[in-house]
Amino acid sequence: MSELSLEKQTNATPDDEVVLEVDQVTLKFGGVVALNGVDFHIRRGEILGLIGPNGAGKTTCFNAMTGVYAPTSGNIRFLGKQVSGRQSHQITRMGIARTFQNIRLFPEMSALENVLVGCDARHKTSVLGALFRAYRVRPKPEELPEITGTGLTRAQSRLRRATAKVFGVSRHTLEERAGRKKAMELLRFVGIADRANDLARNLPYGYQRRLEIARAMATEPQLLCLDEPAAGFNPAEKESLMALIRRIRDRGLTVLLIEHDMKLVMGVTDRIVVLEFGQKIAEGLPSEVASNPKVIAAYLGEPDDAASA
């Protein structure tokens, strides 16, 4: 563990730029206060842990950040721009992506298609564009169709390449091709490329979790929010997930992580924010938080005297 934290310190030199600012956010449902004046921020390139007991408001916080709920009061700013009041898909295009605690893939779509939906967030083809495919562009050399590995004969591929060079390619086709390439790359990145064409619902549990991450990354976010990505994982799977989260950060993404597993949280995050009962009760380096008595009381469990109470 000490080794991990060492690596973290060398690697994570967080810019001072604040990516996301949660400013005194309060959220009420009817009479129930789900979030009460929650206040924290995330800096570029860091991995921030958000912990707290079940029902403390972590997921609600995520939902407020991704436009599912609008805060009753307070502000959420992303890169200086107001988030609340925008619709989910607009927020995604601003650069926030997320996964879900209870996996919400598109179950009847293949793994590849799931990621493609994410890729589409950055695609420009409109409905009419997809219909008429009239907007033609001259592909760059690297965007030309591949000769090998396309399932076509070499002659067919050559022909395709030649026509693309002469007549150009519709933007739709180009995007579709680029999307596929990117999606496959992401599947490889999270390590599930071998099942790319399986329906999401038929994937093993661990694959589904990783697929969610790949799908979220496909939207090219600057901030990636992971909601309990290790739920249901065994220790070995958790280890590899930790490695994955670090690699994600290494790609330049900022990560916000909700997680219960303390080992994982302690092992991977740069900073931790603790929520309880809709309120922030602590914030700081993992080591600070772990020794915070309020945190121990609320979350880590009371010292042994509980049994005698």
Binding site: Q87, S88, F106, V117, V127, R201
Partner: protein, 381 residues
């Protein structure tokens, strides 16, 4: 395992579908071409026993080409409705409204005797018998349908499924009643003198006339194939992917950056446009329109076509439209028993094969899983 007829059908169908999906292009292309040529040849089909499928053999039978034409018209409508129901997952019970809009667009603008053209002719001092040419009526019809689709969709698409159903149903009725009650649409008698598509004169008659109906059928068939091609393009692009994602989990789709509302609206508008094209062709062939031709039960019929065939699957929807239009025509001998038989068949097909006759691959899987889950969940004694 008991191999009932139904099971055997399911296995055979699946094997065929799998074979097809994996088939190489040099096999698929000739088959598709052969099928299309066969469709074009159908009006002339006259060799027994194949010709038994003709509807004009028995006493009281009806003209085979006319039936084929009607089948293709309903196929166009069903393909359009399939975009709304099957692809985007929105229940539209007022689809007949768009069909009516298409029919009335060509009638009101194309017929020299319609109140609208008469009013325009008066206003701009145009010659007697002036009307918008047929070709120009097509964009008018499509534009009307698109606008209507957006007008209906924009405020209502935020409603949940069942509410959407009743609102669309109301919308379909509103259109019909307005057509019936208004002066400018010719009231309950409708409009006559609807223009026909232009074409070279043959044997002293217009190319598209009331006796050589096979030409109408060919025209409709070409339109259908073009539209199928267009819908297929959409289905296999980011648009289709977005529809599917919305259908599966709208919130998750929105969070993945899919502008759900916009795509739903597009689905509505595209469906409306296809419905309007079907209506336009129908009205043009018919020569007259009247509001009674666009009753609510036609909407239900369209939905039934989509669902019976297997919503989401283009082939399924075509088969659904075919069966529902063709069977009553073929078995005219049963006359009064037909609606009853239709009802029984509807219930039987749905209860025995709720996924439809030729379901979408994904839908079929989904059904299998749902059934599987249901079996597990119902731990009955």
């Amino acid at each position: 395992m008991s191999t009932t007829l139904l099971d055997r059908y399911a296995t055979a169908r699946k094997a065929l579908a799998d074979n097809w999906a994996n088939g190489p292009i040099w096999v698929k292309l000739p088959i598709v071409l052969a099928l299309i040529s066969f469709c074009f040849y159908l009006p002339y089909l006259n060799i027994l026993p194949f010709a038994q499928i003709r509807t004009d053999l028995g006493a009281g039978g009806t003209d085979w080409s006319s039936v084929l034409f009607l089948i293709v018209i309903y196929m166009i409508a069903a393909v359009g409705l399939n975009v709304v129901i099957g692809l985007a997952g929105l229940l539209d019970l007022g689809y007949v409204g768009f069909y009516a809009l298409g029919a009335y667009s060509v009638a009101l603008f194309g017929s020299p005797s319609s109140p609208v053209t008469e009013a325009i002719a008066r206003k701009f001092d145009l010659s007697e018998g002036w009307a918008v040419p047929f070709a120009a009526c097509i964009p008018i019809a499509i534009a009307f349908a698109l606008v209507a689709g957006v007008i209906l969709g924009a405020p209502t698409l935020r409603l949940r499924g069942d509410y959407l159903a009743i609102v669309t149903m109301g919308f379909g009725e509103i259109i019909r009643i307005i057509l019936r009650n208004s002066e400018f649409t010719g009231g309950p008698s409708g409009v006559i003198g609807i223009p026909k598509p232009p074409g070279p004169e043959q044997d002293g008659r217009d190319y598209f006339n009331s006796l050589d109906v096979h030409r109408w059928y060919w025209l409709a068939l070409i339109v259908l194939i073009l539209l199928m091609f267009a819908v297929r393009r959409l289905e296999h692009s980011r648009v289709g992917r977005s529809w599917l994602a919305i259908r599966e989990d709208e919130d998750a789709a929105a969070i993945m950056g899919v502008p759900a509302f916009k795509f739903k609206l597009w689905a509505f508008a595209i469906g409306a446009a296809l419905g309007a094209i079907a209506g336009l062709l129908f009205a043009s062939k018919q020569g007259v329109v009247e509001p009674n031709g666009f009753r609510l039960n036609l909407s239900f019929l369209f939905v039934a076509m989509v669902v019976i065939g297997g919503s989401g699957n283009m082939v399924g929807v075509l088969i659904g439209a075919f069966l529902i239009t063709y069977l009553p025509e073929r078995f005219r001998g049963f006359e009064q028993w037909r609606p009853f038989a239709f009802g029984v068949a509807l219930v039987a097909v749905m209860v025995l094969r709720p996924q439809g006759l030729v379901p979408n691959r994904r839908r079929a899987k989904e059904f299998e899983d749902r059934r599987h889950e249901a079996k597990e969940a119902a731990a009955d004694v």
